[in-house]
């Protein structure tokens, strides 16, 4: 029985007359809301732009380094005074190479080696880090001793800053680190074409150093790479296995609910807590070495696991149930159903989640501070057990340094880190695009 025959009440009878009231108000509300949205987007983009511009404008100069190309005399008197290199190779290692570099530049500037004051200025003009470059040349080919050849030497950090126009010459000479004499020399060498600014490979290869011009991200990159490899090797299999079990096999009961709640809670635990956990468990209990990428990798694994589990479970859940029933319907066992049908369809989601988890781990600093990865490590780690630092930690350490040259290096390192994060996120998007199936 329908109620169509009921008489309309007074309210109902009025309805057509009132029908289009408020349209203007509704449209205005919608326009307002769109405006808010656009304003919000512009504010967000604005801050992003400010951030990027400030980092890039401070940091791009870190990617070039001032170098001086001068004829260097590999004087036998300085390197091997007593001519004993045939019997004692250590002579070549411990020779006073900085003097050779200094003398070469002094000669190019026509400074007399007897002018002690001028020689002190010259000593501050070239980097002490040229020691390694020159030593390498001599070690590779001892016959170079006694001859002269053109070598590209690193300029000192302050000269590098001056060459990049970062030194304010209006400041009185005694209040700045670069003297008028040095500026004059710089201009003289520039005029002679001896000054060049090649790409600063050292930024990506050198380890820690107290001299900005010879400090780089080499150790940090190696440490981060080891840690990412460990995170990938540990977190992906554990996370995927745990998610598959929870999503496909485990009975839904209070215990699994409890586990699920705790996984979600773990994802929200501040990262420094994971650092403390790593210190207590991996270093104090298991006795793993301090400052080592293996500990960092394991701590970041713990931190990344919840992210990967949550992403994997979401990916598994998004596989349509009809695929599961189809597989079971032809007699597939549960495991065949999961591995032959569900998992391949969930792969893009799992990979995306994993890469985003890895990217988060790559940028993590706090837990690494607690396990001692904030250290002065000059040599590249030969294995995950040797001391290393990580990219974000290196940024943190450089940002504490006072020299002008470290400021640009800090921003330069941030650019490197952001580039890696961008590459990883783009990879996640491309993978998703490539594997995504439509049905």
């Amino acid at each position: 029985m329908t109620d169509a025959a009921l008489p309309h009440s007074a309210v109902e009878a009025d309805a057509p007359a009132r029908r289009d009231f408020g349209l203007k108000r509704r449209h205005a509300a919608e326009r307002r809301f769109r405006m808010y949205g656009i304003v919000a987007i512009f504010i967000g983009l604005g801050f992003l732009a400010i951030l990027l511009v400030s980092i890039v404008s401070k940091g791009y100069t870190a990617f070039v380094q001032t170098a001086i190309t001068v004829p260097v005399e590999f004087s036998a008197d300085i390197i091997d005074k007593d001519n004993e290199r045939a019997t004692n190779p250590r002579v070549l290692v411990s020779a006073n190479y900085p003097v050779i570099a200094r003398n070469a530049v002094a000669k190019a500037l026509s400074v007399s080696p007897d002018d002690k004051a001028a020689m002190r200025e010259v000593a501050k003009f070239v980097s002490d880090g040229n020691r390694a470059t020159l030593r390498q040349i001599v070690m590779d080919d001892p016959s170079v001793i006694g001859t002269t050849r053109n070598v590209t030497l690193l300029a000192a950090a302050d000269i590098d800053s001056a060459n990049k126009g970062q030194v304010d010459l209006a400041v009185p000479q005694d209040k700045r680190k670069v003297s008028d004499q040095q500026i004059a020399w710089l201009d003289q060498l520039k005029a002679e074409g001896a000054i060049s600014t090649p790409f600063n490979w050292g930024l990506l290869t050198f380890g820690a150093s107290s001299r900005p011009e010879t400090s780089g991200l080499g150790v940090a990159l190696a440490g981060s790479l080891y840690m990412m490899a460990i995170v990938l090797l540990c977190a992906l299999p554990i996370g995927v296995a745990a998610s598959i079990y929870l999503e496909e096999f485990a009975k839904k009961n209070r215990f699994t609910d409890f586990i699920e709640v705790n996984i979600n809670n773990l994802a929200a635990v501040p990262s420094i807590v994971f650092g403390l956990l790593g210190l207590a468990v991996f270093i104090n209990f298991f006795g793993l070495p301090r400052s080592a990428p293996i500990v960092g990798g394991l701590v970041l694994t713990l931190m990344t696991l919840p992210t990967i589990i949550i992403a994997t479970r979401a990916a598994l859940r998004s596989v349509p149930p009809s695929i599961r029933t189809a597989a079971l319907g032809v007699g597939a066992s549960k495991m065949q159903m999961v591995f032959d049908h569900v998992l391949p369809l969930a792969t893009p989601g799992i990979l995306t989640g994993t890469i985003i988890g890895l990217a988060r781990a790559l940028g993590e600093t706090a837990p690494l501070l607690l396990i001692g990865m904030v250290a002065f490590v000059a040599d590249a780690p030969s294995s995950p057990l040797s001391p290393a630092t990580a990219l974000p930690v290196q940024i943190y350490m450089w940002s504490n340094e006072a020299e002008r040259a470290f400021v640009e290096r800090t921003s330069g390192a941030i650019i490197v880190l952001l580039a890696f994060l961008a590459i990883m996120n783009i990879a996640a998007i491309l993978l998703r695009r490539h594997f995504e199936r439509r049905w």
């Binding site: 029933t325 189809a326 032809v330």
Partner: protein, 271 residues
């Protein structure tokens, strides 16, 4: 149960004596979803090499009964079955029975066509592969070929076996699912409203196919369309509110129902 007995397709005895033992039999089958009882004491015999249709209004338990025949209900949390269902005298809920083997013997086609998002060939080959039916590539090609031919799809797809099965039309997808189901050489084929997502032309093709498949398979079909039940089945069972109200030869049910509820349903007064 052993898979050696599965190969009934080649034997193909079309005419079965009327008094032959039923292929499958439900005996006081009750199904519970949690505390809610969905089926009440259903006794139903399913004859070999014939089509049995299960009809009734929505929520009457016909799909539940169908799914309990190959234990697809096992996948639903909180589902419980009591009573006894036999396949050739074997109790399919006996702990010694593995669902993998059961589902190889009792295949299923679902309401919505659900091909795997893989190639047409792979869709059909998957079942035989996991059950080890094909000994080599030649065997597999033969199984895929004959299954697609039986499902009436071979001529339409023979040139694009490597294209995804999801790219076919709805009717073709459903026939692909039928080919996939018969590729494991089941003895019984369960169909859960196989035509409800299809247009009338595709439906007619499938109905014709069901009639042909009857020669080699025992078929149980759930349908909402009484015309379809009348067209394709030899035996019809009418379910209402979880109970089996009436069962019998299809022509008897539709022309001369004994029960008033059955009569009301087939004349369109309930449902």
């Amino acid at each position: 149960m052993s898979l050696e007995t599965v190969d009934t397709t080649s034997a193909a005895p079309v005419t079965e004596p009327r008094n032959a033992p039923p292929k499958m039999q439900g005996d006081k089958v009750c199904v519970f979803y949690g505390a809610k009882q969905a089926l009440f004491d259903v006794d139903l015999k399913i004859e070999q090499f014939s089509v049995t249709s299960l009809i009734g209004p929505s929520g009457c338990g016909k799909s539940t009964f169908l799914r309990s025949l190959n234990r697809m209900n096992d996948t639903i949390d909180g589902c419980r079955v009591s009573g006894k269902i036999t396949l050739d005298k074997d109790d399919i809920y006996d702990p010694s029975i593995d669902v993998v083997e059961l589902r190889a013997r009792v295949g299923m086609v679902f309401q919505k066509p659900n091909p795997f998002p893989k190639s047409i060939y792979e869709n059909v080959a998957y079942g035989p592969r996991i059950h080890g039916i094909a000994r080599n590539k030649t065997d597999m090609d033969e199984i895929v070929h004959s299954s697609l031919r039986r499902a009436g799809l071979w001529n339409e797809v023979k040139d694009r076996l490597n294209e995804p099965g999801t790219g076919l039309s709805g009717g073709q997808q459903q026939r692909l699912c039928i080919a996939r189901a018969i590729a494991t050489r089941p003895e019984v084929l369960l169909m859960d409203e196989p035509c409800s997502a299809l247009d009338p032309i595709a439906t007619a093709v499938i109905e014709e196919l069901i009639d042909e498949l009857r020669e080699n398979f025992t078929i149980v079909i759930v349908t909402h369309s009484m015309q379809q039940a009348a067209r394709v089945s030899q035996k019809t069972a009418f379910f209402h509110l979880g109970k089996l109200i009436e069962e019998g030869k299809t022509e008897d049910i539709f022309t001369n129902p004994r029960n008033k509820q059955t009569q009301d349903y087939i004349t369109g007064r309930i449902g």
